[in-house]
Subunit: 189 residues, 2 copies
DNA sequence: TGGGCATCATAACAAATGGCAATAAGCTCA
DNA sequence: TGAGCTTATTGCCATTTGTTATGATGCCCA
């Protein structure tokens, strides 16, 4: 089992036609591969998106830790629930939100997650992901996400540039996204 | 905690604009609401799609059962992994598959799951879901799914009518879908 | 320092999908 | 059985998004 300590990673799948879909972003504090051993075969990959620092915890150590400290076990379980909630939110985004709503929603999610781990400075946070990566996460093309980012900038909601996001008007961004923060189990403001 | 014994249900979310997105289908044998108590608030709903028979198991009974029978605990855990795999597959479908590929992929998934619980007859199985429901699961409109179903019928891959699906050419359906069965932990054929 | 890359930005056009409308078909219930 | 409803089917047009191409910008490293 692995835990990201610094940097960004993602879960992704490459389809037969070569397209990539990113299914999750992993930020510092996120764990992955809990289940690799149990899966007959892994149907997707995990990849670092920046240089990253990762901790490896053996299955045995993990189990011992969780038995000795029930609150750690509870935290792992809770993190698991949050991850599922995020996946469900992504399904909703992909299915029923327009491209601008999708982008806004993802930025809301990432901003909150970054804030939860102390990675924001006021209304700004580092987002070292290329537009291509964002496109592959949101099920759109790099060209189109560029159009959408321009629109969000012109509307004064947010702007992304040189590896960091500035949230210009959080309320507007939330409203565009139709963002409902409950699923992250964290509070906005 | 609830277990579906007969019929179909779904997890869904209604967005501010009134659109519905279905995030999962629940078939006989599927459990849900394991986590309702732990979530501050539920950010989505669960709904029966046909008349259904459901068993309720109290949290206490469940824990006792899982402690007494580790193989049941393992089965629950494994089912959980499959559910996550399905969610990831849905994200991939919504993000990077065309509408016809998405429909084919969902039908492959449902056919396999139905077969796993003995609900198929040869290459046919009951699918008592309206095209509107399928559309809300696949992130498309009912009109468009109708066009796609017609195309799949004309191609001789499958046909859906009167509440049941006939798989005319499984290999072709799998090929259209780009279906990779690993994630269900079951084998095709 | 400057060549070579990756990324970003934008335009013009093409394709996929949505929206609306009209009709047909099937189902439920009095 | 037939009225009234939901669901399915189809056509036409609008909109969103993808595709391809081109140039600009910035960055890394020889």
């Amino acid at each position: 089992m692995f835990i990201v300590l610094e940097g960004w990673a993602c879960r992704y799948k490459i389809l037969p036609n070569g397209a990539r879909q990113i299914m999750a972003f992993l930020m510092p504090g996120d764990a992955c591969d809990l289940h690799i051993k149990l899966l007959a075969e892994m149907d997707h990959g995990i990849q670092a998106l920046t240089s990253a620092l990762v901790a490896r915890v053996s299955q045995g150590d993990m189990q011992a830790l969780m038995q000795r400290h029930p609150n750690i076990a509870a935290a792992m379980y809770s993190a698991q629930l949050v991850d599922e909630g995020i996946m469900r939110a992504w399904i909703v985004s992909m299915g029923r939100r327009s491209s601008i709503e999708r982008v806004a929603h993802l930025i809301c999610e990432l901003y909150l997650r970054a804030r939860g781990i102390g990675l924001t400075y006021d209304d700004e946070f580092a987002l070292p992901l290329s537009q291509l990566v964002l496109a592959d996460a949101l099920g759109m093309t790099a060209v189109h996400i560029n159009r959408v980012l321009k629109e969000l900038r012109l509307e004064g909601a947010m702007s992304l540039g040189r590896g960091s996001v500035v949230i210009c008007d959080l309320a507007k961004l939330i409203q565009i996204a139709g963002f409902d923060e409950n699923y992250l189990h964290r509070r906005l403001r």
